[in-house]
Symmetry: C2
Subunit: 210 residues, 2 copies
Amino acid sequence: MVGNKRQIHDPQSVKTAVLDAALELFAQHGFADTSLRSISRKAGVSHPLILHHFGSKEQLYDSVKRRVVEGYAARFPAAARDVNRPINLRVELKRILTYVGENELALKLCARTHIDGDHQVWPGEPDLLNLIQKRIEVAQAEGLIRKDLRSLQLSIMILGIAFFWLDNRRHFAARFGKAANDNAYLNTAVKMIEEGLLPRFSASKSQDEE
Amino acid sequence: MVGNKRQIHDPQSVKTAVLDAALELFAQHGFADTSLRSISRKAGVSHPLILHHFGSKEQLYDSVKRRVVEGYAARFPAAARDVNRPINLRVELKRILTYVGENELALKLCARTHIDGDHQVWPGEPDLLNLIQKRIEVAQAEGLIRKDLRSLQLSIMILGIAFFWLDNRRHFAARFGKAANDNAYLNTAVKMIEEGLLPRFSASKSQDEE
DNA sequence: TCCACAGTTGACCGAGCGGTCAACATAGTT
DNA sequence: AACTATGTTGACCGCTCGGTCAACTGTGGA
């Protein structure tokens, strides 16, 4: 703690530093494999201080998750105003790829809580799923999307295409190089989803590019 | 150990029992949160015996993962003979859904090793991805799939649609009930992927439900 | 029958864990 | 200056962990 810039009595900056350190360690190593002592070391405080501020390791974990969820909630509602407009797949996919791509730690933490059976804490879900589903239904009502496919299952597939990519893109990038990047994937995804795999008769010229 | 049916000196059945118990506990609670003692309790042996047979907790984990991978490898090669035939999306998706659906513990273990950064141990991958990609290319060569979409990205999307569903179907089933089941999802997925979302001109009469 | 050897176990070790506590440091109030 | 409330810490507790080890048990061959 020599040369520590933080004021000695500044509980708010302590809490922030602890939450930052905890998010990183929980996301990288998981709950069981992260000790309060390692978090305290990273945050530059003693480990009893964490217990003083957060009560227990479990409660600290809850606080970390809550902050992640709030971070999402603070961002997605802006998109939620579009709820009554027909979905624009390209824009929506890009929004997910961009935002989640900027928050890899949060994504990883969510994957961990998810695998541990805590389905409640999956930021943006159910909100995100609901939003997409509703906007698909609007698009169906306006004749922009065929009506014989269920909006719920379509939404799940779209999320699957997005999150599977986000979960694995590092892996794919390492294996396939530049062929595997966000934009190329996004373009192919939009084309496949909107137009399907069947051969195009009238070539592909009338596209929606934006 | 009273009433234990296993012969007292039967190292093979001990190893099997330990691997079974370890797979279940590692998959359910993760590596760090599973103790050798809990595995030994479940397997009905003492915990030093596990170390005697497997060397260390890490090596036991490796053995568990290896057995899972070998289980996949023993099953998918049968499908690999189709490598030179154009892909049949419905059959391929059904194969994945069925097999992985029957091996939820393995799926969960793979998700854990995956999130921990161990990309090597992802059964069926890269084999499964390669297989799908090649068969898409065959289909493209035969004019069954449009050629302007990259086979690699299509493969990733298809895997994403399958695995995201498998990872979350319990969650969705709890939320949406019978509307979220394997067959309905499979049907919608095949239609969306093959035909796209754009409205069908030649009406929609041949609908799913099965 | 006895022997060599692999299988198996209870007791034990050092380390690290989450959590507690008494003591100390600081800031604000009087 | 003294008091109070809160922030902060080092020392400590009981526990569980992965791993070791000497000792015991059953098996199969000489």
